[in-house]
Structure formats: C-alpha cells, structure tokens
Amino acid sequence: MIPLMVAFPLLFGFIIVILDTLRAKKILIKASFILGAVLPAGIFLVGNGREIVGGWSRVAGIEVGIGEINAPFIAGELMLFTVVAFYSLSYFDFRDKKTAKALVLFLLMHAGLLGAFLARDFFNFYIYMEIASVSAFALVAFSEEPGSKKAAFKYLILSLLASYLFIFAIGVIYMETGYLNVELVAENALPSRELSTALGVAFASLLLKAGIFPLHGWLPDAHSKAPTPVSALLSGLVVKAPAYGMILLFSALPVGESLKTAAMMVAVASIFFGIVMALLQKDAKRLLAYHTVSQMGYVLLGIATFNFIGAAYYALAHSLFKGGLFLSVGSLGTRSRKLGEFGYRNAPLMAFSVLMLSLAIGGVSPFIGSYAKGLISSGLEGGLKWTVLAGTIGTLVSFTKLNYHLSRGETEDLRPSWKLSSLVLALTTLGAGLYLGAGLKPTDVIYIAAAVLTFFGLRALGVFEREVESEAKDVGRDVNVLAAVFVTFMLAVLLLQWP
C-alpha cells in the first residue's frame, strides 16, 4: 500500500497533461490536481510499517517504509502541500496556458518528496530527490519577476553538481558494501578510507542541496524570486529531503568523531550566519530565505548529535511555520516586497496569523517550534544549549523587525483563500504543539522582551540602515565562485577524516 503514496500524485500529474492536451474543462484539471495532492494523505493514515515493492527479496528489491524517523517528515510534507495546493489554485488563475503545466510540476514535486521521504535505500532516495529538484528548478523559472531565470539557472547548476557527486558517493558505498539498502549497508559497513571518502563527498553535496551555511549561496535568490506557493514549498519541503538523506547516511555508515564535530560547528555557524544576514535584509522574502539557512542549522545540529527524532520533528515544525510565513508575506506583498512598503494594518486576520507564525518560528511555547527545539536541545551538552538559546533570541529579534515593518504598512485586496491558508497553517502550528505536549514556559516572556529590547537598541544604533549583498549581475561568475567554495569545503571535509 505504501508505494501508492507516490503513485497517486504521478498518476494525476499524467492525467492533467492528458486533460490539458485535450483542452478539457478547468474544473476537471482542478479536481484531478486536488485528488493527486490529497489522496496520499489517506494512505498515510491507513498504511504503516515497511514493505518491499513488488514483493521481491530485500537484497534485490526496493524497500519503502514509514517509521518513527520519517513519519514527521511525511506528515509535514502532506500538511504543507495540501494547504499550498489549495493556495496555488487561486494563485495560478488559468489566464495563460502555463497554469496546467505548473500544476503538473507541483504534483511531480509532491511525488518526488514523498518518494524521497519513504525511501529506505540510497539509490531510490537519490532518484526521488532529483525528481523534486528538477521540478523545483522549472517552477522557480516560472516566476515573472526579473532575475528569476538567473536564480533558477544558478540553482540548477549547483544542485546538479552536488547531485552528481552524491551519486558518485553512492557508487563507492555500493562498491564497498555490496548493498544499497540502508540497513544492509549498516550491517556490512566496516570503517575504511573508501567509506569515509564516500561519506565526506555525500555529506558535502547534501549540505549544498539543503542550503546550509558555507554552501548556501544559491538559496536566497532561488527562494525569494520564486512564485509565492513555490517559495513556500522550496523552503518548507525541498530542503528537507537532503536533510533526510543525511539521516540515512549517518545511520548507515561509520561516522568519525572529527566529522561529527565539524558538522556541529557548521550547524552553529549556519544558525548565526542566517540570523545576521536576515537582520540586514530589506526584502521580506529574502529575509525569510535567510531564516531557512538559519533553521536548517538546527536540523543539522540534531543530525550531528545523532538525535534523529529531534531533527525530524524540527523539520516538521519548520515546514509548517516557514511555509505559512512565505504564504502570508507573499500574499501581503504582491505589489512590493520591500519592508515598510506593505503590511497587515488593514487585515487583522492576516496580522493574527503572521504573529502566531512568528512566535512559532521563535520557539515560543506552546507552539510546535518550542517542542521541536526542546527535543533538539535535550540531546546537547552545556555550551551548545546556550547557542540554541541565543539563536532563539536572534530569531525573535529578526521577526520583531519583520512584524514592526508589517504593522506600519497596508495591503491591497487579499483573496479569502489566501487569508484562510495562512490561518490554517498558523492554527496547525499551535494545534500540533499542543497535541505533542509543548507546555507553557513562563521564561518565554523574558526572551520575547529581550528580543524586542534588542531590536529597538539595534535600530537606535542604525544597524538596519545598511543593506548587504545586492543583486548579482554576472551569473556565470557567481556559479564559478560557489562551485569553488563547494569543492574547497568538500576537500576540507575529506581531509578532516584523515586518520
């Protein structure tokens, strides 16, 4: 039954292409899109456990399964994708011929992400992650904003470079152990130089695809230039697939202490780099994109400390609130996305959702962010616990800035479905937090107060006046620089594991 979760979006994707070629009625296309988006959720609720596609043996077959580590990933995917599906039906309004194609790409991304999260072997994980990425490149290029084609190109080249190195690493793993299945690899893997090389290459390429600090260069452009529902999916879900891949890698291969420490340091650097860059942004969607860099740092922190459940729940929490934030900020700022030029002053419902989502991303209880952050920091020791705390305050400062600017501007017509989707996601973050048992913590009031004070302090000092990193002009040079950074980083990871 589990493979049907991938089969339904694919099937309805093909059906939409048939209907579009035959020039069928819009309502039929819309209905098949919604069916493809929603049906996998039904199977998720029914099916459980693990199975091998086609009933082959485990050595030769493709194993898929839903377990406690990937269930949060899948739950987050299904919840966010359903909301984004309804949002995008009103966003792409069939005025041009492109709409049906965009919907097909959405379903392909849905199938790819579900397949990647269900996978229990490296090769299938790679294939499905690629399906999701390829549809993501095309969807970024769908945007009519200036610079979106360049952003998509940069994303395409860097992501493919990382993919090829990742498949090379999988080849080395297969050569060394004779298996692709994660558990069989784990049983047969003995520490060796080849395996640590494969681990280093695969780790570096997944870091690039997840957009974590030294390799994040493509992310802010791609995530901010994409159409709003696509931004929500990119930030909320597409960067989670490589994170799941890292969990698979770390649970199967012998990971040395040096690599673990390096991963932890990268995670901490990513958390603070993302926050500092977000504080200096004037473009609202770019601010959110830099927060993805920062939040993925927390996920990596969970993975680096082998706290896979914590990382999975953080990924779930991040998909919900970051998807919601992108949807709400994107719908508020249809005219301009510059901070201070738009806001929610005349849309109280939107204001309520954005405030709730901001509290959720800051890790304030009883939202789901607080539960996930608690899980992550429960696996950490002394010093690192304080970094999580400092990261929380930094995130809250940055979102105080966002809300400060939003509360002063006004917005034009908002469609009811846009308001509703933000509200649904905001309520989901609260509901999921309460369901998982995130209790009220009185200390959160102190953090919020500290964050607001810091914000006004920094504003008085004039930190927000400056803006870093304007538009890139030459894409070719950008790609060269980022590829050089990637290769250098990969070599550093490989040399770190020198015995």
Binding site: M1, I2, P3, L4, A7, L10, L11, G13, F14, I15, V17, I18, T21, L22, E51, I52, V53, G54, G55
Partner: protein, 133 residues
Amino acid sequence: MKMSTVVRSTTKMISPFLVTYAAYIMLYGHLSPGGGFQGGVILAVAVILLITSHGYKKVRKRFKFNWASLIESSAGAMLVLLGIAGIAFGAFYSNFLPTEGGVIVPFNVIVGLEVGAAFTFVFYILLRWVESD
C-alpha cells in the same frame, strides 16, 4: 531544411525497419539485452530522422505535436495503473501475469512508448527555437 533526394529516400526506406527493430527490442527486452528505454529511443530516432531529412513542417502534418504529448502522458498514466493493478494481487507492481516474463513485457512496451513519444516531443520543442524550414 530539406535534404537531397538520396538522403530523403534512404531515410524513408530505413524508418520502417527502425520501427520494427524498436518493437523487437521492446518485446524481447526480458530475454535479450534491450528493453523499454532502448526501444523507445530507437522509435524516436525513426521520427527524428524523418524530421531532419524531410523538414519539420512536412512531418508535423502527419505526426502532430499533440499526439506526441498525448501518447507520452497516457503511457505514463498506464505505467502507474499497471503498478496499481498489482495491488489486487498482493503488492505494488507484483508480477501477476502467468506468461513468460510476466508484467515485464507490457511494462517494457509502455516504457518504450513513453520514451519514444517524450524524445520526439523534446525534439519538436527544440526545433521551435531553431526556426527551421
């Protein structure tokens, strides 16, 4: 772009054989080297050869752009349906046909159609940019 008479008559003669060969590779993919993908590529080559020798406009009149799209998408849908049909016999893509090769034969044929149509489709789209004829 229309090529010389020699090229045009040669491709006209070769194309039917290419289609036959593609069908052979698809149908015997489970016994001999080959399979759906390879058969599909050869199928697409038969069309692409005709396009390059006779010109885009002439071939497009016989083999329409929309047909390629339609064959491609319906083959994709059939592929998924074949897997779903296996659910009735125990597992997704279970081998439920009692014949030699089981579901691999229909699978290969469908993949061949899918790949052949998709390659033709891609070639048509690329030709739009070249602005041929």
